[in-house]
């Protein structure tokens, strides 16, 4: 199993080398969302009895965990298509499990760094939310699921361009429709049902519940865990398929 650690440490070495740039890059989107949606537009908007910024912040945490976990796909593809380093892993005595686990945990680490950045930005904007074990568990499952999905997609695409397309078709719609910016309860029943199919909707719901000290529901955790397991299996199969 030391191979899984090698895969993980390699990603961490690369991340450490560009940590400052990475932190700045991670901060841009949530900062813009907080300013535009929270500050400029949301000052007068209330969701239930909460201010919009308070409603928005858990959604942004959920979204950041997804986008940064999925961003590991870009790193894998840089190694695969640009540096050809993926062949080094294929030629080494590294099992599929070690590779997928190492890369998934690297995505998970990136996700938790991003969530910390969003939480700090929220704090600077004067938003205080509760951060309990249920929030962390939901964030963990969400990030694990999207990191595993990222590994699978990175193995299946044939070029960098394909990867960008996938992000546009999977991540961007999910970010806007997965309960980040508005409560799904306000939507018509058919739209609510449709959006329930998105894992991010469940992550947003579970994270928001803990952030607001509400009693957690079991269903979102089960759905997220099922997604994480399914995407992990998909990633394992995709690694086999990547051998030509």
């Amino acid at each position: 199993m030391s191979a899984f650690l090698a895969i993980y440490l390699r990603e961490m070495m690369i991340l450490r080398r560009r940590l400052k740039r990475q932190l700045l890059s991670i901060s841009v989107s949530p900062l813009l969302y907080l300013v535009t949606f929270g500050f400029a537009l949301g000052g007068s908007v209330k969701v239930g009895d909460r201010g919009y910024l308070e409603f928005l912040l858990p959604g942004l945490i959920s979204m950041a965990s997804m986008t940064q976990a999925f961003a590991i796909a870009g790193e894998i593809n840089t190694a695969r298509f640009y540096f050809h380093a993926f062949e080094e892993f294929q030629a080494a005595p590294v099992s599929r499990l070690s590779f997928v686990l190492g890369e998934t945990l690297a995505g998970l680490t990136r996700a938790f760094i991003a969530m910390a950045v969003v939480a700090i930005l929220g704090f600077l904007f004067g938003v205080r939310i509760h951060c309990g074990p249920y929030l962390l568990l939901a964030a963990f499952l969400n990030a694990f699921a999207f990191a595993a999905l990222a590994v699978a997609m990175a193995m299946l695409v044939k070029s960098h361009a394909d990867q960008a397309l996938l992000s546009n078709f999977i991540i961007t719609p999910m970010a806007f429709l997965g309960g980040t910016f508005f409560p799904l309860d306000a939507l018509p029943a058919w739209a609510r049902t449709l959006l329930q199919a998105l894992p991010l909707s469940h992550a947003s719901k579970a994270i928001r519940a803990d952030a607001f000290r509400e009693a957690p529901e079991l269903a979102p955790f089960i759905i997220l865990a099922a997604c994480a397991a399914a995407f992990f299996c998909l990633a394992m199969a995709a690694v086999s398929k990547a051998r030509d």
Binding site: A3, L5, A79, F83, A85, Q90, A91, A92, P93
Partner: protein, 289 residues
């Protein structure tokens, strides 16, 4: 286990009926091959002959369609991870992590092969000295020249102390001086007891380095043996002439016979030693390079 009785202890690689197709294209078409332990073996053929596909299959990067392949007595399909531990590979294109330093690349490689912390550090230091890059340990790989990257790839492939080293076109794109330096390095690695399996389409590289050469064309083995034996079947000397718009070559055992032929020609011609290119051309009608 059918593996044991099939293999002699002196064999490092044994391939039987290896086939691989990419759609309608047959990259390997029933390739049979044997490489002895401790040998410096050159696998020669033109582009698209199946050289890289063979190396990629033996390293587990590409899946074989049919046939069997053993490395050091290990069936690569039954126990791929064990087979991989015996091998080091230097790919045709640079496959280093450009964003990591030289030392970090070797550190990750050692970890991938399950080496202990002390062993991987000592081996990395030794092999960087071996390729004369000890002073570059902290350099970012993306800032290295092509020749240094190639030497680093060789050092990395040796860090886990493999018994078999694959070199896929190790000097392609390098200038002549650096090419010679890589050749010395390859000779030295082989002298230290590592079996070397080299693919190349540089004839002089195979002639200078190899104990045994094998010609491959369109995925099939054409000929294998020591370079001197293969070339010797044609003769020792060659006279090239340009007749009727075509290059023609005649072969001779003795230099005197060749010189006499040259004097008797109405066209201009040139006298030279027979090389592996001649042998390949006589077998296939195609040039290697």
């Amino acid at each position: 286990m059918p593996a044991a009785p099939l293999l002699s202890r002196s064999q490092m690689i044994r391939l039987r009926g290896l086939s691989k197709s990419y759609g309608p294209l047959k990259a390997l078409d029933g390739l049979d091959l044997e490489v002895r332990r401790g040998e410096l073996f050159a696998f020669l053929g033109p582009n698209g002959a199946g050289k890289s596909t063979t190396i990629r299959i033996l390293n587990g990067i590409t899946r074989l369609d049919t046939g069997e392949a053993f490395i050091g007595g290990v069936d690569i399909r039954r126990d791929p991870l064990k087979a991989k531990r015996l091998c080091g590979m230097v790919a045709q294109h640079t496959s280093l992590d450009g964003e990591l330093s030289v030392a970090e690349n070797l550190e990750i490689h050692g970890r991938l092969y399950g080496m202990s912390r002390e062993d991987r550090r000592r081996s990395a230091r030794e092999h960087l000295e071996y390729v004369e890059m000890a002073d570059r340990a902290e350099t970012l790989v993306k800032t290295l020249s092509g020749g240094l990257k190639r030497r680093l790839m060789i050092a990395r492939a040796l860090v886990h102390r493999p018994r078999l080293l694959f070199l896929d076109e190790p000097t392609v794109g390098l200038d002549p001086a650096i090419r010679r330096r890589i050749w010395s390095l390859v000779k030295s690695i082989n002298r230290d007891g590592v079996t070397v399996f080299l693919t190349t389409h540089y004839i002089e590289e195979a002639e200078f380095l190899a104990d045994t050469v094998a010609f491959v064309n369109r995925g099939r083995l054409l000929e294998t043996g020591p370079p001197q034996d293969i070339m010797g079947r044609l003769g020792s000397w060659a006279v090239d002439t340009f007749e009727g718009g075509e290059m023609k070559t005649r072969f001779f055992r003795e230099r005197g016979e060749a010189a006499e032929c040259l004097r008797g020609l109405s066209e201009s011609g040139s006298l030279r030693r027979v090389n592996l290119e001649d042998a390949f051309l006589s077998l296939t009608g195609r040039r290697v390079a």
